[in-house]
């Protein structure tokens, strides 16, 4: 298949833009401005004469030699009393839990000398099963955020805990004594113990006093990314107020309508891991995935079939799908639906019915009506009980938006006397909250920084970072996990639960409260110190008895027998809201920034969006045809900025750059949430605009779209930093793919043997033709990776994991714009289409919605690319100082202290994976967002890896520090290295196990098997550079 396909990274490449073609010839996009510098008039005025130069030279040589004569005195300060578990130089790992109301993940925290430095997934977890996401593994840097509050604030001024507690207790008591209302507004709390703390707080202030007066205390859950529509639909359909447990590992046919379950939707880490386990072509069958969506998401990119639909059509497509399924199964149809996409809907219905009982339909919409119909389809297909478990008490999202809307009204009318916000930032995420909260008498924020909400509060009682905290979580029935402190609190902050306990008059610490709660409610008859210690070590505890914590029992009341949703009412409502204007706006989350709570994390800001490849910005995505119609600039590069457009929604408008997004449905625009923070900190403030302003309550649920907006040009330009066309591979055949059908017939489908012609005219395998003497690669170890393109979905967890492990600097937007990004590991995103654009222009296509022109709905493939560790590395032969050499274990080594910065190696690298340190990112004040510059954030650096300086080349080392570490463990134990003894940061982070690390010379390893499998290939094999990184053909299930 790869022979008939055209792959392209951006519109620039597809159109063979002149500037792009010229730029792609150069490894370093920018010339060094030598002439400019030498012709600078200032330079000749103040010029240094030859004599002066010699004087300076002489002086500096003398100064250097004099300075070198003194022995520098280095102090070494050992522990006075060494903690028993710490041995300097050896990492400790602690199991913990990440749960911020948007993502849940059971994690392992690597600490060195008491400092958390790296986060990976916990393989013992029955929920996330070792998966992790970019947001989760980057959160270690948020711990060292110097914008965090260092102590409590009272009316914006620094205060002490005693005085703040005194004031708050007094005021809360006064409010309760008058029968006033106190509201706790929090995100979805997955922690049963925290829920108990809140219940204690509610109890304390709703107790009647001697005069028979009691406070009105309520806890309201508010999810800034809400799933309230699903919860409400489940109440109507089954009488269960909760989210079902979606079991992607059991699903054989999946249809998603706007739910990006691989990167953002609900418990996406769990789904990502589970889904990937069904995508193994070697097993002979793969699950199939059909995605209907508006803007191109990760899920849509990985879907076997993707259909671009308008935001206003989501409901009607689902109704049509219901009817199509009902027709096939023999159920009654409902009114409504759409005439469009009939072919795709038919295809989807066919696959669903064929996998009846093991199929799954999901929708991203937050509308109750839409979700009722989705429930109806799953009920028709008999999926409840197999791929959906409605009784699982999933806690990832619990918010009921009607209550939030009611609270807003209540606050606006001045009826709320006290508001405590925990884990939410409503002033930023909820339109209208700012004015409403201002009317509350006593405002307390438990935020970790003086964020948008905290800054209008009377008291800010900063919560610890989760890595400094005790906590627990129960993501679903029977699954528990613990969160333990891995470092003492850096500042005078206090855990939110401890604050609430203090205000409830409970003198115990949250740690002991938590332990007691586990003894009573979780471990039950199991309870013992040994079991508790085991749980703490493992981080997780599973129980089949499925004891339900009391709060959750309430959810079970009113449960109905079977499906009781009213489909016709739902269909009617869908029909009423299915008309859109000329332009529809859809808001989505990005893989890095998400809901914006970690907006001040420079790793996440500099993480290229896997689809658009843009960093440090928020922008409007538009379909290529709309871009053309409006005449907006589509080819964004260093010299061609994007057009700035004005987006008007209702009365509000913002100016944002517009970029072309292949796959975006024409007539719609996309905008990411989580940007436009004003009080996040120096990295996050002022990046992009806040899309939460355009969300609104529709039918009681927060809606992340607007069906009638206007986009007008401003005539202004805006510079955007995109890595899209950086390090491009100039049309070489990088992606190999096959359909499952072809693959089953021939395992080498899409991966034909490469033959090149030698000087005698004989066709040979490139491995047989050598210009150089062979390295002795068959002896000892030969480390390598295998990367399965079938399961890689571009989630980018590997990229941030690599940043964290290898001290990769953050260089900022301006440098990225100049193609000077420093990532050792990039994910190339290729669009592909079956036929060249030219053919389309001559021919005629009438299949609506699909393939009008290739860029309207392309197929997408992701390819992680790091140093390929070639056995005949072209970089090694051109280094004049032998700074990059080959190891006998197959590694392409880079000795920074030997490098003189000629950059010949980067010029000679066919994979363009070498990165040059143009500046001293660790000292130059222009790069203040680089963590290595902040005395606090510097603590996140890995002490086993050098922080590189200006003027040296760097690149992926295949985590040589881990290889050496793993070998040492084996040597000390006197045994051979076993597969899995050590792994690279990228392989360790990969939630879908697409990346595997191991010894290619050991036939028992997964890598060796992958390398020799029929799907295995190396990139640009015909060059004969013999990489040690293997890729596996992408297999799509188009059957």
């Amino acid at each position: 298949m790869s022979t008939t396909k055209t792959y392209w990274k951006g519109i620039e490449e597809l159109d063979k833009d002149e500037q792009f073609v010229a730029a792609s010839q150069k490894e370093f996009a920018q010339e060094i401005p030598v002439d400019e510098f030498l012709n600078d008039s200032k330079l000749s005025e103040e010029g240094t004469t030859r004599r002066d130069f010699l004087k300076f030279l002489g002086f500096s040589v003398t100064a250097a030699s004099l300075a070198a004569c003194e022995t520098p005195v280095t102090k070494t300060i050992p522990y006075l009393v060494k903690p028993e578990e710490i041995t300097p130089g050896i990492a400790n790992y602690y199991a913990s839990t990440f749960s911020d109301g948007n993502d849940y993940c059971s994690i392992l925290v690597k600490t060195r000398e008491g400092r958390p430095i790296h986060i990976t997934g916990n393989k013992l977890s029955g929920v996330t099963k070792g998966g992790v996401s970019a947001r989760v593994n980057s959160s270690v840097l948020s711990l060292y955020d110097s914008e965090r509050l260092q102590g409590p604030l009272s009316s914006g001024a620094e205060s002490s805990w005693d005085s703040v507690d005194g004031d708050i207790l007094k005021k809360l008591a006064a409010i309760a004594a008058k029968g006033g209302s106190i509201r706790i507004l929090s995100n979805s709390i997955t922690s049963p113990s925290t829920k108990k703390v809140i219940a204690g707080f509610i109890e304390k202030y709703s107790e009647e006093n001697e005069e028979g007066v009691a406070g009105d205390v309520q806890h309201i859950t508010y999810d800034d990314i809400s799933a309230s529509g699903i919860i409400n639909a489940n109440v109507e359909s089954f009488g269960v107020a909760g989210i079902p447990d979606y079991k992607f590992d059991k699903a054989t046919a999946i249809v998603t309508i706007g739910a990006d379950f691989m990167s953002n939707w609900l418990s996406s880490i769990q789904y990502n891991v589970d889904y990937a386990s069904t995508r193994n072509p070697e097993s002979g069958s793969m699950s199939s995935l059909i995605a209907f969506e508006t803007t191109l998401s990760l899920t849509g990119s990985s879907a076997d079939t993707r259909v671009a639909i308008k935001e206003s059509e989501h409901g009607s497509v689902i109704v049509s799908l219901y009817n199509a399924v009902a027709k096939k199964i023999g159920g009654s149809t409902i009114a409504g639906g759409t005439d469009q996409y009939a072919e795709s809907i038919e295809l989807a219905a066919g696959r669903l019915v064929a996998s009846k009982g093991t199929s799954l339909v999901i929708a991203g919409s937050n509308s109750k009506s839409v979700q009722v119909v989705v429930n109806g389809i799953n009920e028709l297909l008999g999926n409840y009980g197999t791929t959906l478990d409605i009784d699982a008490n999933v806690t990832i999202k619990q918010g009921d938006d009607t209550k939030v809307e009611a609270l807003l009204k209540e606050m606006a009318s001045g009826k709320v006397n006290a508001l405590i916000t925990y884990g939410v930032n409503p002033v930023y995420t909820l339109p209208g909250a700012s004015d409403a909260i201002a009317k509350v008498g006593l405002k307390i924020s438990l935020a970790d920084r003086n964020d948008e909400t905290a800054s209008i509060c009377d008291y800010v009682c900063p919560d610890n970072h989760y890595l400094e905290s005790w906590n627990d979580a129960s993501p679903k029935k029977g699954e528990y996990s613990l969160c333990q402190p891995t470092i003492s609190p850096l500042f005078k902050t206090r855990q939110a639960q401890d604050s609430l306990l203090a205000w409830s008059g409970n003198s115990s610490t949250y740690e002991s409260f938590l332990m007691d709660n586990w003894k009573d409610s979780v471990l039950g008859t199991d309870a013992s110190m040994d079991v508790w210690n085991d749980c703490l070590r493992d981080g997780v505890y599973s129980t089949t008895s499925g004891d339900i914590v009391d709060e959750d029992v309430e959810m079970q009341e009113g449960k109905t027998d079977g499906f009781s949703g009213d489909l016709s009412v739902a269909a009617a409502k869908i029909k009423a809201s299915s008309t859109g204007g000329a332009v529809e706006l859809v808001m989505y989350q990005k893989v890095g920034i998400g809901n914006g709570n970690q907006a001040n994390n420079p790793w996440l800001q500099e993480l290229p969006d896997p689809i658009s490849k843009i960093v440090w910005d928020n922008y409007i995505t538009m379909a290529p045809s709309d871009m053309t119609a409006n005449g907006y600039e589509q080819k964004i590069g260093e010299a061609t900025p994007a057009d700035l457009v004005k987006l008007t929604v209702g009365g509000k408008s913002v100016e944002l750059p517009v970029i072309v997004q292949p796959g975006q449905k024409a007539g719609t625009v996309g905008l990411a949430l989580g940007y436009g923070r004003t009080n996040a900190g120096k990295a996050g403030n002022g990046v992009g605009a806040n899309a939460f302003d355009f969300t609104s309550f529709i039918d009681g649920n927060i809606t992340y779209s607007n069906l009638d907006v206007t986009v007008t040009g401003t005539g202004n330009k805006y510079e955007i930093a995109s890595t899209q066309t950086h390090h491009t591979l100039m049309g070489r055949d990088m992606i190999k793919e096959a359909s499952l059908e072809d693959f089953i017939k021939d395992n080498k489908a899409g991966n034909p043997d490469i033959m090149v012609t030698d000087y005698d005219g004989v066709k040979k395998n490139p491995y047989k033709i050598n210009l150089w003497n062979d390295h002795d690669i068959e002896k000892g170890h030969r480390w390598g990776l295998s990367i399965d393109l079938s399961t890689c979905n571009g989630c980018s967890a590997c990229v941030t994991s690599c940043h964290s492990e290898n001290n990769v600097p953050v260089v900022g937007k301006d440098e990225v714009r100049r193609s000077r990004d420093m990532s050792w590991l990039r994910i190339d995103r290729y669009y592909s289409s079956d036929t060249k654009k030219d053919d389309f222009e001559i021919g005629f296509m009438d299949r609506a919605g699909l393939m009008e022109i290739p860029s309207e709905n392309p197929q997408v493939a992701f390819q992680p690319l790091m140093c390929q560790h070639c056995n005949h590395a072209p970089c090694e032969t051109v280094c004049p100082v032998a700074a990059t050499t080959h190891s006998n274990e197959g590694l392409n080594q880079m000795a920074y202290n030997r490098c003189v910065g000629t950059r010949y190696c980067a010029n000679n690298c066919p994979y363009k994976v070498r990165r040059f340190n143009w500046f001293n990112y660790n000292g130059n004040s222009d790069f203040a967002t680089n963590p290595a510059q902040d005395s606090l954030a510097r603590m996140v650096l890995n002490p086993d890896v050098v922080v590189r300086s200006r003027g040296v080349m760097e690149k992926c080392s295949l985590c040589v520090q881990r290889i050496q570490g793993g070998k040492l463990v084996a040597k000390k134990a006197g045994r051979p290295v076993e597969d899995g003894d050590m792994t690279t940061a990228c392989a360790e982070a990969c939630p879908t196990n697409a990346i595997q690390f191991g010894d290619l010379n050991n036939n028992a390893t997964a890598v060796a098997k992958d390398a020799s499998s029929d799907r295995g290939y190396v990139l640009i094999e015909e060059l004969g550079v013999q990489p040690n990184i293997y890729y596996k053909t992408k297999v799509r299930n188009n059957a």
């Binding site: 070494t76 009393v81 060494k82 041995t87 300097p88 030997r898 050496q964 051979p976």
Partner: protein, 423 residues
Amino acid sequence: MNRVVSASFNKVLKSILVLILFLAFGVSISIAQDYEGDAENGAKVFKGNCASCHLPTDKKFTGPGLKGIEDRRSKEWIIKWVKNSQEVIASGDPYAVKLFAEFNSSVMPSQAVTEEEIIDILAFVNAYVPPKKAIVEVEETGASTDEGTSTGTYGLILLALAALGLILYVANSKLQRFVLEKQGKDAPRLASVGSHFKDWSGRNKRLVGLVVVLLIFGGLNDAFDRMMDIGVYTDYAPEQPINYSHKIHAGDLKIECVYCHFGAEKGKTAGIPPANVCMNCHKAVSEGTTTGTAEIAKIYAALDITEDPMAAEYGENKKPIEWVRVHNLPDFVYFNHSQHVVVGQVKCQECHGPVEEMDVLKQESPLTMGWCIECHRTKDVKMQGNGYYEKIHAELKEKYKDEPGKVFTVENIGGLECAKCHY
């Protein structure tokens, strides 16, 4: 000094006396009964055998304090106990059973001491007077470095040679004039030294040229050597905040290096021992012979110990000890102690020199890359019995089959590659 001499003299005298008595009577007599005991010898035996568990005061340690032991127990009982405590306990002696229980049933091992020595110990305990509490004083003792010496000596020799040359030159001139005068020739006026040298060098052009060339090359060579020494701190022996002597601890007391530098077997750094490791011994040993008492007190000060060090209760105002690092590697080098100590079985002294002979620790090796490489080129890898190397060893034997009996060095397994140490 005097006391030591007299003590050993006393001991010799006593031994002779005993020998004479023994020979004179020709019978074995139990001297234990009325042997007086020698406190000096007792102190020595106590230090060697008892001090790790007992104190000569009334304070408890691992075992009870020995002060007043003779008031509590009879000599016979004590001798029996020391020789085999378990037997005494087994015999059901109520005091012994109680004592055993009181000290957490820790068995006192049977001691290889004679009965006389036990009585010597008792004499030492009876005579023991605890020394007065030392006043902590941080002495400003600079580590004396005699760098000037060698240059001074060379200078003196050069000066002497120059003076000798001058004398010879003057004598030569005088003699020449004298000879000329004798011959009745007109003695020419003594030419200036300069013109004389000019004349001489004019006659010996080759020699002068050679000297000049030698001087230039010598100068360059010297300059190069000096440049290469920049950043190399062999013999660096800075003054430390505590005048800790490796000679006493590792040399005299024979404490294993890794007892304190436990990291050497586990991780990349050998580590400076934390103060709580010092306290393992120094909670009992708080005195030294010369400056030790004051130096040990610095540990207590750092840990803020105000009460009895035996309790090892640390105060709130702990102050870290800021040692001066002697062995520095640049940041871009990764060196792992455990790799060398455990896997490579390299003795600490091979790199750090005879530390057990150093009062003030100094850097023995240059710690340059050339020095590392030199060892990696010559050192054989300890492959025997290490499962990790089995396959590699077989492959290497195959590779070097033309050189039977070849010893595989670190170089042969890639030990000279950049990324083994630089990443």
